[in-house]
């Protein structure tokens, strides 16, 4: 009996030692490359160039997606991110000494973005997309640093994460990092500062997978909330479908490279208008990308894409779903057209609509029930409000209507075509 206890105690001790070694030895910040230049001694011209590049890094990296404040200050923090484990709030990344990153060194910013380690060794939740940012170049982070430090500090305290036990024990993130953080960063590329030297596909991959961190929403996650190998394969996040944006997924819903460019730069394409958490991506990020970068992103997303499908349409759905058809003609056709053609700046077409072609009807049903606010897209482009029908439609009617739409122009029409 005693021997058993001794062996057990020995095993526990060994386990603790291994855990401590892992914790301190392998899950802190990895190597930090030297700063691209002495940021303390910049001449005025270089500083201005770095601020301008840094601003672009911040936009392409969509910092504001999470670090915007409730009252719309891009970097002051406060945006909630709801996960199954609890809610985390974007932090203040203005140069406030008390609440923001005013006391960060350039190396501190690098460690936070690439390794998810804040000064003092505090581990960030992987809601901070450091598994995507892990390949951001040192030059780009330095430019971002100069830009962030040139902003007005906002004296706004951070809101503590509201996570359930045991996820509220931050040191445990070390073990998540051990398994899921790609260490060391896979070949940090030359980054945006390399300009023309970064080949277009490389630039597209860098904008999509690294700075744009598209996979944080579009890649399915496992039980540990880490991104799986189904890169950009689509998933449900924060109550909405982030669609499959692999070349196969996009082609299956009829997207072309040109459509993608139009969608990313204006928020609108023949497939529909940006909704849910994708709309702020337009207003914070993609509408600022110059044409060359938009094209690089689309080319990367559409790499080796199969021939895009024609928009499906199955008129037999009218007889197969008489109740849904009656609701469509009575409540929707006034704007979307009896034949589903839509109206410019008024309503998106149903023919070719990407939401109707998703396997999961979640987004379609939420849009019908909640409506979509009027949108100021980019430039002169606007979309009028879509009203909410939650007070008009009973649950069975919602099912009838969405079933009809999916059968007439959506996922079930594709299935009929393929037969």
């Amino acid at each position: 009996m005693r021997t058993v206890l001794r062996v057990l105690a020995g095993l526990v001790l060994l386990g603790v030692i291994v855990a401590v070694v892992i914790f301190f030895g392998f899950t802190g910040a990895g190597p930090v490359p030297p700063a691209s230049r002495d940021l303390e001694a910049l001449d005025e011209e270089t500083r201005a160039e770095m601020v301008s590049l840094g601003e672009y890094v911040a936009k392409a990296g969509d910092c504001a997606a999470c670090h915007e404040s409730e009252d719309g200050l891009a970097l002051a923090g406060g945006t909630p991110m709801e996960t199954l484990m609890g809610t985390v709030y974007g932090t203040n990344i203005t140069p406030s000494e008390a609440h923001g990153i005013g006391d960060y060194s350039p190396d501190d910013l690098y460690r936070a973005m690439v390794y998810g380690i804040a000064p003092g060794g505090r581990r960030l939740y992987p809601a901070m997309p450091y598994t995507s940012y892990h390949a951001v170049s040192r030059e780009d982070i330095d430019a971002l640093y100069v830009y962030l430090m040139a902003q007005e500090p906002v004296e706004k305290p951070n809101r503590d994460a509201d996570m359930a036990f045991p996820f509220n024990i931050r040191p445990l993130i070390a073990f998540w990092n051990l398994i899921y953080r790609p260490d060391p960063p896979e070949g940090p590329g030359p980054g945006l500062s390399a300009g023309e030297k970064l080949a277009d596909t490389g630039r597209g991959a860098y904008l999509v997978d690294v700075l744009g961190h598209c996979g944080e929403c579009h890649t399915p996650r496992n039980l540990a909330f880490a991104k799986t190998g189904e890169h950009l394969g689509g998933t449900v996040i924060e109550g909405a479908v982030a669609p499959d944006i692999t070349p196969q997924g996009l082609a299956g819903r009829g997207w072309t490279e040109t459509d993608l460019s139009q969608f990313l730069s204006t928020g609108l394409s023949p497939q529909g208008v940006m909704t849910f958490r994708m709309f702020p991506v337009l207003s914070h990020s993609t509408k600022y990308l110059p044409e060359r970068d938009i094209e690089a992103v689309s080319a990367y997303l559409a790499q080796d894409m199969p021939e895009p499908s024609e928009p499906p349409s199955d008129p037999d759905a009218i007889d197969a779903h008489p109740e849904g058809h009656r609701l469509y003609v009575g409540l929707c056709a006034g704007c979307h057209g009896t034949n589903g053609s839509g109206q410019p700046s008024g309503s998106v077409p149903m023919v070719g609509n990407t939401t109707l072609m998703l396997d999961n009807p979640l987004n379609l049903q939420r849009v019908i029930l909640e409506g979509i606010p009027a949108r100021q897209l980019s430039g002169h482009l606007r979309m009028q409000e879509m009203p909410a029908f939650d007070a008009t439609l009973a649950e069975a009617e919602l099912e009838d209507l969405s079933g009809y739409l999916r059968a007439r122009w959506g996922v079930d029409a594709i299935a009929m075509q393929d037969q």
Partner: protein, 186 residues
Amino acid sequence: MTAMMTVFMTINGTETEPLEVPEDLMLLEFLHEYLNLTGTRYGCGQGVCRACAVIHDGPMGARVVPACVTGVAWAHGRAFRTVEGHADRDEEGNVTAVTPVQQAFLDHFSFQCSYCTPGFVAAAQALVERLEVDPVPAEDVENVVLEALNENICRCTGYVRYLEATRDVILATPGLTIGDGRAEGS
């Protein structure tokens, strides 16, 4: 060839004959072309300006719907009130008394060209009837009125006079508000 359907509905308290109409006909066209009720106005044609607003009397009480984008396929079998149906009339159809909302719009000189007026009458009347069931604190009335009429567009910019008229009707009608809205600062 557009599919046809037979529809009937209750308009201003009277049930229409069953009529054979195109299935994608909008309620506004039905009122104009089949019933000769031309008071409801066609504005933007996309359900935004609310010139075409009519009252739908449904299980939830009086609610405003844009007649230009609401199809007869949905309106079939339901009850609506248009601008012609608010005032009291004698047997020959002559107006004998307008509603308090209509009177207040006249008293406040709320409209100039009047194109938006039928929509404002519908929205204000629906609000008054909602407050009969669900009164609000008197100090909230201005906000409630603004919210209820905010979508109606008036190109002559009579907004303030429409809003003030509606507020006055609500504050002067017993049972629509709780408390005394004039207690503080007004």
